[in-house]
């Protein structure tokens, strides 16, 4: 029991003193996850809008698959990206394996289905409300999409936050394609896994506290965005 309290105290000291190795890992984590979320949003929002607004054969199938992929096991994504990026794989020549870029690719793949599935739901329900009025005003496809994205901005922001929460918390994919190399690809989750198995609980706990706080902050932000939208626009 004493060990745990001691580790806890050390963890708090690490946090309070902004320990260099801890800050480095946190910064890398945020860099990788934020880049992945930005990429997934840039790809996923237009895809979500297309799925919400167009009708083509196979649309439902894609939506069901995207919803299913929201629960994609990170280790499986890690494995697939590993196979793609390994030296004998189709993208092996790029030499990306065990770099932050590989981790960004893996997390982008993990987050993409969340952004696509949730944003298409948001946009589709908004479109059901707006359709007749937009047609009546003679809004063209671009005007429609821009208005829907703008009016759905708060709900879409919460889907992006959900994606960020997922990227931030996963360990399987980044462990496999990043390799948990110190000073190169070590992020919060992989560091916790390593330190916990090594018995260095202080750093693991410190990082764990940061992760929990981040997760809390993401959810608080998501909640505030929803509340703000409800008060301001009855959205």
């Amino acid at each position: 029991m004493n060990d745990i309290w001691q580790a806890m105290a050390t963890a708090v000291n690490l946090l309070a003193g902004l320990d260099a190795s801890l800050v480095e890992i946190v910064a890398r984590s945020l860099g990788v996850s934020l880049t992945a979320v930005v990429l997934a949003t840039l790809i996923g929002l237009p895809l979500g809008a297309v799925l919400a607004l167009s009708r083509f054969p196979g649309r439902r199938v894609i939506l069901v698959i995207m919803n299913a992929l929201m629960g994609l096991p990170p280790v499986v994504v890690g494995l697939i990206v590993l196979l793609m990026l390994s030296r004998s794989g189709p993208m092996g020549a790029l030499g990306l394996l065990f770099t932050p870029a590989a981790m960004i690719i893996a997390q982008t793949i993990l987050v993409l289905p969340i952004i696509v599935a949730l944003s298409s739901t948001v946009i589709e329900s908004l479109w059901q409300e707006y359709e007749e009025q937009m047609m009546s005003l003679g809004a063209g496809p671009w005007a429609r999409v821009l208005a829907l994205l703008w009016d759905g901005r708060f709900a879409l922001m919460t889907t992006v936050l959900a994606g960020f929460g997922r990227a931030n918390a996963e360990v399987g994919a980044v462990m496999i394609v990043g390799g948990n190399i110190d000073h190169v690809t070590r992020v919060m989750t992989t560091a916790i896994a390593l330190e916990a198995s090594r018995g260095d609980l202080a750093l693991a706990l410190g990082l764990g506290i940061v992760l929990l706080l981040l997760s809390l902050a993401i959810n608080a932000a998501s909640y505030s965005v929803r509340e703000f939208a409800r008060h301001r626009y009855q959205a």
Partner: protein
């Protein structure tokens, strides 16, 4: 675009509209809004008034037959010369002024002109002080007036209204009617559905009586309210026409073919 409205008749030729296989609009051939004034589409609930308006607006495609506008032979969608106010107002998640601005932008009005037009539209509908308030925070009646302000701002040649005052209190209803009368006096042709006979008497210059997807009578308001020829219209005026109990309410059926559907 803010000049005097031009004639913009809507012509329907053998128009059918079905929900799955059940026809709801049956073989309607008619021309609306070819004369100045307000044409009211009267009929009991379920007669197809809202459907007919949407067909006339071009936001629903006819399953059979042809709808054309402005006397042209182009059967395509409307060309920014119509506006419609729906029974339930739909506003974007932005301010009252922003909602009108959105519509004017779609009509390619320059920015300076837009600002002035928004002022006028809000003034006309008594909403000036709500210009910067998010539209969806307004009361239902105010939102409906905003929808009318938006339609007015577009200076349409043809204005379509789907029971615009069905859910409003008398004061809000009067405000809407005042704006409508101004627009009519300005030359805008209005096509409105309603089941409110008193409102129809106050506003309409022409009456279309719709029953079970068919036009049973189309005449001037004067003629219609003096005494319609059609027996269904007569009982509608008396207030004892129920669409689902047709036989029980009055005896001989003059138009049996309707019952096939």
């Amino acid at each position: 675009m803010t000049g005097k409205p031009a004639p913009y008749p809507v012509k329907l030729e053998n128009v059918w509209f079905n929900a799955r296989t059940k026809p709801l609009i049956k073989d309607i051939s008619a021309t609306f809004a070819d004369e100045e004034g307000l044409t009211v589409i009267l009929g009991p609930n379920g007669a197809g008034k809202s459907l007919l308006l949407r067909l006339c607006h071009g936001i629903l495609p006819a399953h059979e037959g042809l709808v054309t506008w402005g006397g042209g032979d182009d059967p395509g969608l409307h060309d920014h010369r119509q506006a419609m106010v729906f029974q339930r107002p739909v506003h974007l998640r932005r301010t009252a002024g922003g909602n009108i601005d959105f519509a004017l932008k779609l009509h390619k009005m320059p920015r300076l002109q837009r600002a002035q037009r928004i002022d006028e539209a809000l003034e006309l509908t008594g909403l000036s002080r709500y210009r910067a308030i998010p539209a969806r925070l307004l009361s239902f009646g105010e939102q409906q007036r905003l929808a009318l302000a938006r339609a007015w701002a577009l200076a349409p040649d043809l204005l379509l209204l789907d029971e615009p005052t069905a859910n409003l209190d008398p004061a809000a209803q009067r405000l809407i009617e005042e704006v409508l009368l101004k627009m009519i006096a300005g030359g805008t042709r209005v096509l409105m559905s309603s089941h409110d006979l008193n409102q129809a008497r106050r506003l309409a210059s022409h009456v279309v009586f719709l029953y079970r997807g068919r036009i049973k009578e189309q005449s001037s308001a004067e003629q219609f309210f003096a005494g319609p020829k059609n027996d269904l219209a007569q009982s509608f005026l008396r207030g004892d026409l129920l669409w689902w109990r047709r036989r029980a309410v009055f005896a001989p059926d003059p138009d049996k073919e309707d019952d096939k559907f």
